[in-house]
């Protein structure tokens, strides 16, 4: 028992243990083949330790040679594998060199196995020596085997290979890997130099040593290697744990994204350039109508794109891959049930340091509903009979429909350069507009619908167009302006006003025909006075001088009567006039006395007494004087007609008063048979009459006239005998102090 026989098995056991450990590691990580290589090297090295023990214990030269051949095999295998280990671990070193030195080593091993003698010597003699600590050993002495040249060439080439690996790692620049490569290569180099050097010295007989020093030398290398590998394994395990954590975080965040994507209709995806594979989120798969799982290639995805859009999508994708870093595109896809979806995709192109495309990342949105809403909005916009504009706070046109182009004679592009003020000049001066522009927030509900206004717009050719403008504020500080051409409506209104006036005129003419005897009487009176006065004057003249005063008075009276006759004619002409008058303020009390004057004779002839109850300081009404006279005259004639058959007193009452703050009323009361409740409304319908010779148009015409003045007309059955007809008209002024005067009027 000596120290070598204790130490060598210990060292061999360590190597063996390390080899087993890394074999297990390799079993767990099959892809890391350098672990297997290390395990084989360590086991081979362990075997070598035990072989060296046998060499020491050899009793004969033959035993020694046999053991030394085994020794050479075990350590030879280790040396053979070390460069390959480096190559596997660092992916570095020149391939040609590796092949050469591996070949050399295999040659040496093969030669050693094939030769009966030791690999070192062709003939060997053993010289006993005593090692330190009293250990007995053998030193081989003999002719050196020429194969040793190959063995040492192999070792030199290994050193060159190691240098190459270190240099290459240095060039790659990763400091940690550099450090590892340096350490491992240095330990291998040390082993090669020490082991090889000692072997050479013994072989060539420079020193006397028993050739059993490989075990500690190899163990040094194995310890360094296992230290490094262990460090890596620990690091990678830690890394993996960390990765595992962050992967679960990533998964969580991916799930979060997926959830958000689902909710927002966003589908993320990415395309890998090397594999041409597209990775899509479930939402993206659903969006493009792809199977929930399975590989998707770029072409599968492009296959969904609508035939009309696919060329554009391809072209843009090609352009982006060739030159740009990101792009956005709207396109349609056709899903399997034939449905069309509108998709918007935003894509970023990723490149490596050389500018080669590595991947594309994109998000896609299903814009179909937005597009539909947009299309519906457009359709509604285009279907509208009016010109519709969306304008900003400054009146600049943001959107206009086809009708707008048609109405104003500008193309849609031109309209988008204009402001609403150019088309409807009065619009920009309206104070209401500021109300909208100064408040960016939507206006309160009461202001949401601006009143419709009649304005004059201007077409491109300068022709003015009467329009109605309605403004309503929309979100985002915009205004929706609806402009309708009211030319036709105004024409219609004008025509119906004309027809109304014509009917009123015809009705007036008919009425004047009815009262022709009264009118004749009214003219007859002044004519009688004029004639008599003239004849008296002639007599004064015939009587000679002295009648100047009489003559002067007579002529004055003649002039007054002429004026009176002229008044009658003038009123008559006014009543017969056809054209519309200007709307003017009308004093209702004056209107009543004028009408009474005109109808005076008839009232006398028909035995009707008139009572006028007129309110003083009555506000004026506004309207067409002649038409209002017509209404009153019509009511007076009707009242007289109603009382025609009365045996008793025929009393007509005319009343005027103000109603509230803003209306003036006049009313005509008779004491005739009155009206049945059922006919209170019906009397204003055309062709409804109680008279034998009437057309029944009078009251319907009255109603038309009053309505065109914005007033009301109605009939009432009196508490006492008879009926009354009331007309209320909008007044032009505030009500004055109410002083009612009563005057019995005899028609004179």
């Amino acid at each position: 028992m000596n120290w070598i026989s204790v130490l060598w098995p210990l060292l061999g056991g360590m190597s063996l243990a390390l080899g087993l450990v890394y074999w297990v590691v390799w079993l767990r990580r099959r892809e890391q083949r350098h672990h297997l290589l290390f395990a084989v090297i360590a086991v081979a090295s362990a075997c070598g330790s035990f072989v060296e023990l046998r060499m020491l214990a050899a009793q004969t030269a033959a035993q020694f040679v046999a053991a030394s051949r085994l020794q050479h095999l075990t350590f030879g295998v280790a040396i053979l594998l070390l460069p390959i280990f480096l190559r596997e671990r660092f992916a570095a070193g020149r391939t040609g060199l590796l092949a050469t030195l591996t070949g050399l080593r295999l040659l040496v091993i093969a030669a050693s196995l094939g030769s009966a003698a030791s690999v070192h010597f062709t003939e060997v003699a053993l010289k006993p020596i005593e090692l330190p600590g009293g250990v007995a050993g053998w030193v081989p002495v003999g002719h050196v085997n020429p194969m040793m040249a190959f063995a040492y060439l192999n070792l030199v080439l290994i050193l060159v290979f190691l240098a190459g690996v270190v240099r290459e790692m240095h060039r790659r620049g990763d400091p940690l890997e550099q450090h590892r490569a340096r350490l491992i290569c240095a330990s291998i180099a040390a082993q090669v130099v020490i082991g090889g050097g000692m072997g050479a010295l013994v072989t060539w007989g420079v020193v006397d040593l028993p050739l059993v020093i490989n075990t500690p030398v190899f163990l040094l290398t194995i310890l360094v290697l296992s230290y490094q590998l262990g460090d890596e394994v620990l690091l990678s395990t830690r890394e993996r744990a960390r990765l595992g954590r962050s992967e679960s975080l990533l998964r969580e965040s991916e799930q979060g994204w997926e959830l958000a994507g689902q909710a927002a209709g966003i589908g993320p995806w990415s395309w890998d350039a090397r594999s041409n594979r597209v990775t899509l989120s479930p939402k993206a798969r659903e969006m493009f109508d792809l199977e929930p799982d399975g590989e998707v290639m770029l072409e599968d995805w492009l296959g969904r794109v609508h035939p009309e859009d696919v060329e554009g999508v391809r072209r843009q994708t090609r352009d982006a891959l060739a030159s740009r870093s990101s792009f956005e595109r709207d396109y349609r896809i056709l899903v399997r049930d034939g449905q069309v979806r509108w998709i918007t995709s935003r894509v970023r192109v990723e490149r490596d340091a050389d500018g080669t495309v590595t991947s594309m990342h994109g998000v896609s949105f299903d814009m179909t509903r937005v597009r539909h809403a947009d299309a519906m909005f457009r359709a509604a916009l285009e279907a509208a009979p009016d010109a519709i504009f969306l304008v900003d706070g400054e009146g600049r046109i943001q959107l206009a429909n086809a009708r707008a182009s048609l109405m104003f004679g500008f193309s849609n592009e031109e309209l988008l350069e204009l402001s609403l003020g150019t088309l409807v000049p009065e619009w920009s001066h309206r104070p209401e507009r500021r109300k909208y522009t100064s408040t960016p927030a939507p206006a309160p509900a009461v202001e949401r619908r601006a009143p419709t206004r009649e304005l004059l717009a201007r077409r491109r050719d300068g022709v003015p167009v009467p329009v109605e403008l309605a403004l309503s504020p929309v979100d985002g500080g915009l205004l929706l302006a609806s402009v309708s051409d009211i030319t036709e409506r105004l024409r219609g209104e004008h025509e119906s006003a004309q027809q109304r006036n014509e009917l009123a005129h015809l009705s007036r003419v008919a009425m004047i025909g009815e009262m022709s005897s009264s009118l004749a009487h009214e003219l007859n009176q002044p004519l009688t006075a004029i004639l008599s006065n003239s004849q008296a004057a002639l007599r004064f003249l015939a009587a000679g001088p002295g009648h100047e005063q009489d003559l002067r008075e007579t002529l004055t009276d003649i002039a007054a009567s002429g004026t009176r006759a002229g008044d009658v004619i003038r009123r008559l002409r006014a009543m017969l006039r056809k054209e519309e008058t200007e709307q003017e303020p009308v004093d209702i009390n004056q209107l009543i006395s004028e009408v009474m004057q005109l109808y005076r004779s008839d009232l006398i002839n028909r035995g009707v007494t008139v009572l006028q109850l007129l309110e003083n300081d009555l506000p004026e009404a506004v309207g067409d004087r002649v038409q209002l006279q017509q209404v009153l005259l019509n009511l007076v004639i009707n009242a007289c007609d109603a009382m025609a058959g009365l045996a008793g007193e025929r009393k007509l009452t005319i009343m005027s008063r103000s109603l509230g703050d803003d209306e003036v009323e006049f009313s005509v009361w008779d004491v005739g048979p009155g009206l049945a409740a059922s006919s209170l409304e019906k009397v204003f319908e055309p062709f409804v009459t109680s008279k034998q010779d009437g057309m029944g148009l009078g009251l319907s015409v009255c109603k038309t006239i009053v309505k065109s003045h914005g007033g009301r007309i109605w009939a009432e059955d009196n508490d006492g005998p008879g009926a009354s007809f009331h007309v209320a008209l909008p007044s032009s002024a505030r009500v004055g102090p109410r002083v009612v005067t009563t005057s019995a009027h005899d028609g004179g």
Binding site: S517, Q525, P526, A536, D550
Partner: protein, 137 residues
């Protein structure tokens, strides 16, 4: 005044006409009294007045025919001449039946009017002169 000279009692609701007619009658040297309505005339005319009544047929409240009837009722024997703006045949017949001497249309010619009035005045004077005989009849 009535006893001194026969008088024309002129009743017309139209002041202009009243003034013109009275001026014409006066220019011919006649005495004229004017009334704007029948009631005043009835109230003021005496039973024994001499002259004639020149009545407007169409007047408010009390028309010419009503005035003529009231005159008859109160025994006023003034001959009546009617003036009318509209030649109403029924009114004319009624007036004649009640004893009107003439029924003239406005505007009236001076000679026609004066002829009728003078004839009426003559009749009145004659009636007054033979008051006894008339009264017996």
């Amino acid at each position: 005044m009535e006893s001194a000279a026969p008088t024309v009692y002129l009743v017309d609701d139209e002041p202009d006409v009243l003034r013109a007619l009275s001026r014409l009658l006066r220019s011919d040297g006649l005495n004229v009294r004017t009334f704007e309505d029948g009631i005043t005339f009835i109230a003021q005319v005496g039973q024994d007045a001499i002259g004639c009544a020149l009545l407007d047929l169409s007047m408010p409240e009390l028309d010419g025919l009503a005035v003529q009837r009231l005159m008859a009722d109160m025994g006023c024997r003034l001959p009546v001449v009617f003036l009318t703006g509209n030649g109403d045949a029924i009114a004319r017949a009624e007036a004649m039946q009640l004893g009107a001497l003439a029924f003239l249309s406005k505007p009236v010619d001076a000679d026609e009017l004066l002829g009728a009035v003078r004839a009426a005045l003559a009749a009145s004077v004659a009636v007054h002169a033979s008051g006894q005989a008339e009264g017996v009849r």
